[in-house]
Symmetry: C2
Subunit: 210 residues, 2 copies
């Protein structure tokens, strides 16, 4: 098994964090996104969506999409459970993880990809070029502000995003907010005390360094 | 168990199609989106994302997000498998279903929600209002054209989206393309022979009427 990765990209970081929480190690192949290596013919065969991460199994099967890769690894290594160990827990965690992705992660990508000069003509990932739309950069930042306020409200009631236990939903939210801070200069609001406390707590986990 | 539904909305249709393929029946509660019933305080408690479908379990737990609801139902009723019956099959089908969602379904929503006058100020689902962006309506249509071309290429090699067997990925793609046809007047291209043949074949399944 191999993980196609890029060190500074947030989606691969979600998977590295997940693998570290499982106590696993998977050999890494770096795909140099700065050199557009995701668009080479060889990589397109591996993943026609031209994204990292990709998990290549020993039989050559290539799996892309972060929650799908994580689900596969959870099936292989159920302990500790990060995606729920009953059908109902899987559903609750899956729902919260998707909310973190749609309301948080995609908003951060919208803000970044529509503003970074180096991504001109590549406002969406994938093999098709789409032009940047400046209004989307502003909308992405507004969505992130709404996301932080909503998540702060949630975390006043529960210690972790999906409830009582640390899960993949915390990984998605943490990587998103750390990315927003470092790449978009969007800090957690001072008044979001619950969100700030949760962020500081999750930041102590060794998986954040993976 | 109850399914909160709206008859003409495409996301609930994906779940109804899935339930029908399972040979199951789940009582329906209609949420009148035309009357903005998804924004009432009672519904916001059920689903703060203000979307349908929602699956309410007998203990009151509310599950939103289409693939999460389907995963829960698949856990309860594994036969016939629509999301894979091994870890590897689950990963392959999950990956293709997500591609259908991101490249197809989200593109259709982008085209519709940024152009329909009745959705002014609601370009994204959820509790926060975001303005329509006319460039996104055009981009959504372009993305759908790219999606159809890519899926036609895929279906020249395999009978179903995820490979040899009908799966949730076919449901997502079919509902997306049927929606694009009826609501966006985007027909399948004449030259996309494999896509057209697949669409006609899937259209014969009783689940499309659910």
């Amino acid at each position: 098994m191999k993980l196609y990765d890029y060190p500074t990209a947030p989606n691969p970081r979600r998977v590295r964090f997940f693998i570290a929480e499982k106590g696993q190690t998977i050999p890494i192949v770096t795909v140099d996104l700065a050199q557009r290596a995701q668009f080479t013919p060889a990589f397109r065969i591996l993943n026609p969506s031209c994204t990292v991460p990709v998990l290549e199994l020993d039989d050559g099967t290539a799996i892309s999409e972060v929650p799908v890769i994580c689900r596969y690894l959870e099936d292989l290594h159920p302990d500790p459970p990060l995606m729920g160990d009953t059908a109902e827990q899987r559903a609750i965690i899956g729902m919260w993880d998707r909310r973190m992705e749609i309301d948080g992660y995609l908003a951060a990508m919208e803000a970044l990809r529509n503003s970074l000069p180096g991504l001109s003509g590549r406002a969406l990932v994938g093999p098709h070029g789409y032009a940047q739309i400046p209004e989307l950069a502003a909308r992405g930042r507004q969505r992130l502000a709404d996301f932080m306020a909503d998540l702060d409200t949630r975390l006043r009631d529960v210690p972790y995003v999906a409830g009582d236990a640390f899960s993949i939903a915390d990984i998605t939210a943490f990587v998103t907010l750390d990315f927003a801070r470092s790449r978009l200069k969007l800090e957690l609001p001072d008044e979001a005390a619950a969100l700030r406390a949760w962020f500081a707590h999750v930041a102590e986990r060794p998986g954040t360094q993976a």
